[in-house]
């Protein structure tokens, strides 16, 4: 079977909500960790909620690290990381010690600094676009998206396409060639979240 989008199932969080969001906008997708199904899909989505270390362990156990490297870095398939899926493409994370990530972007995943703001950063926050990205086609500047996270993506590379402000300005969307990622949850962000997923599917 060929599918437009493979949603990578590696035992982290609520994949079903990502699938039903794509279904709602009429995009064919499958939740899978089958290597052949992922190889045959046109695009790859890596969602996820939970701890960085568990996620990397699960990806390794399922043999998905080499596969994703091959499909995304070599074959240049369109890739969308969501929330933890964005963080995993960094070089390392400092969540519960230090863990090596997929390393596709020269970036680190670090905790929000101690302020009087509550962590996790939970709820709707507005997003400032700082460079053009096809992901944001027909989405207005300063649209609110739904966030849930305690760590954020700190990139050394110039890949940020949108910022969000929560005590500090942090990178909430990036693009590097065929690699896209967002810290917020488009599948939980109502109309414009679905719009963003549609933009990704239409790339």
């Amino acid at each position: 079977m060929f599918h437009t989008i493979a949603i990578v199932d590696y035992g982290m969080g609520n994949l079903r909500s990502v699938q039903k969001a794509f279904e709602k906008i009429g995009i064919d997708c499958i939740i899978t960790n089958n290597h052949d199904v992922i190889k045959n899909a046109l695009k790859i989505v890596l969602p996820g909620v939970g701890a960085f270390k568990d996620a990397m362990n699960n990806l390794a156990e399922l043999g998905l690290i080499d596969l994703l490297n091959q499909e995304v870095l070599v074959k240049k398939k369109h890739f969308l990381g969501i929330c933890l899926g964005m963080q995993l493409i960094a070089q390392k994370s400092y969540e519960f010690g230090e863990t090596t990530g997929l390393g596709w972007i020269d970036a680190e995943v670090v905790k929000f600094p101690q302020t009087n703001l509550k962590v996790p950063h939970v709820g709707w926050n507005n997003v400032h676009f700082i460079s053009q990205s096809k992901l944001f086609t027909n989405i207005p500047e300063d649209t609110d998206f739904y966030f849930v996270h305690s760590y954020y993506f700190q990139s050394q590379e110039n890949v940020t396409t949108a910022h969000c402000e929560y005590g500090i300005d942090f990178s909430c969307a990036i693009q590097k060639e065929n690699i896209f990622a967002v810290q917020f949850h488009p599948e939980k962000s109502q109309t414009y979240g679905l719009k963003l997923l549609k933009n990704f599917a239409n790339l």
């Binding site: 969080g13 909620v49 509550k118 709820g123 709707w124 609110d144 414009y192 979240g193």
Partner: protein, 251 residues
């Protein structure tokens, strides 16, 4: 800037009505699904659905219904009522919910919160505390066991320690009265806790929402106001925005 959320709380009794096909395939009929659909189309920030009698009657989880509601819901969905084990949490999250609301089971066993937070993350644990004021003192109320000799704030602090993501704080005395939230109770909680507080019970007009946010509420839960008054979530947000409280307006 992070927005204050307005969260309709949908209450069900025994997961409402079901009908069967040949005694096996149970399907949901009636209101919960259409209610969720309406809230989704109204672009609300988040939705909480609680089966208020599930724990009382040891009702099994209605997976069909939860999954049908999640199907209509493209905003965060919290499900509560009768969630007693890690397996139940799996079931509810796999059906498409984003968070679980835990009440009865955690009063008896606060480490249940820690278990859920460790496996699924703090972001998906909402601890629901029902409070009643008796002779000037706040006490925890439980549907099954009635009034308990437990200080609600100490219970909330324990939940926070165990890894709760948010507290859903309901004043039974104010619930359904439309007289406003229990601000004294709210302040007691917001001053002592660092996790977000969803205050619930009593909103009857637009001033009540402003009042609660100014006294530290992160989010406003409400049920009655949406069912029995002319106010909509959008009107509440407009009134908050008019006094410069950040809310997410429809775009």
């Amino acid at each position: 800037m992070l927005k204050h959320r307005i969260i309709p709380c949908v209450l069900l009794k025994n997961w409402q009505l079901v009908k069967s096909i040949q005694f096996t395939s149970y399907r949901t009929i009636g209101h919960p699904i259409s209610t969720v659909r309406i809230y989704n189309s109204r672009n609300v920030d988040e939705l909480i659905v609680l089966d208020i009698d599930a724990s009382l009657n040891n009702e099994p989880l209605n997976v069909e219904l939860i999954s049908d509601m999640a199907q209509e819901c493209f905003m965060p969905l919290t499900i509560g009522g009768g969630i007693n084990s890690i397996e139940d949490v799996y079931t509810v999250l796999n059906a498409g919910a984003d968070k679980v609301s835990i009440n009865s089971q955690a009063i008896e066993n606060p480490s249940f919160i820690h278990e859920i937070a460790t496996i699924f993350g703090s972001q998906c644990v909402v601890c629901s505390i029902d409070v009643k004021k008796v002779a000037g003192e706040y006490k925890v109320f439980n549907k099954k066991k009635g009034l308990l000799e437990i200080n609600p704030l100490l219970l909330a602090k324990e939940y926070e320690k165990q890894g709760a993501g948010e507290i859903l704080l309901t004043s039974i005395d104010h619930e359904g009265t439309t007289l406003g939230y229990d601000i004294e109770l709210l302040e007691m909680f917001t001053k002592a806790l660092t996790i977000p507080i969803i205050i619930n019970g009593g909103m009857g007009n637009l001033e009540h929402g402003i009042d609660a946010i100014r006294h530290g509420a992160d989010a406003l839960g409400a049920a009655y106001i949406f069912h029995f008054t002319q106010y909509t979530p959008k009107m509440i947000k407009q009134s908050l925005a008019s006094v410069n409280i950040p809310v997410r307006m429809e775009q």
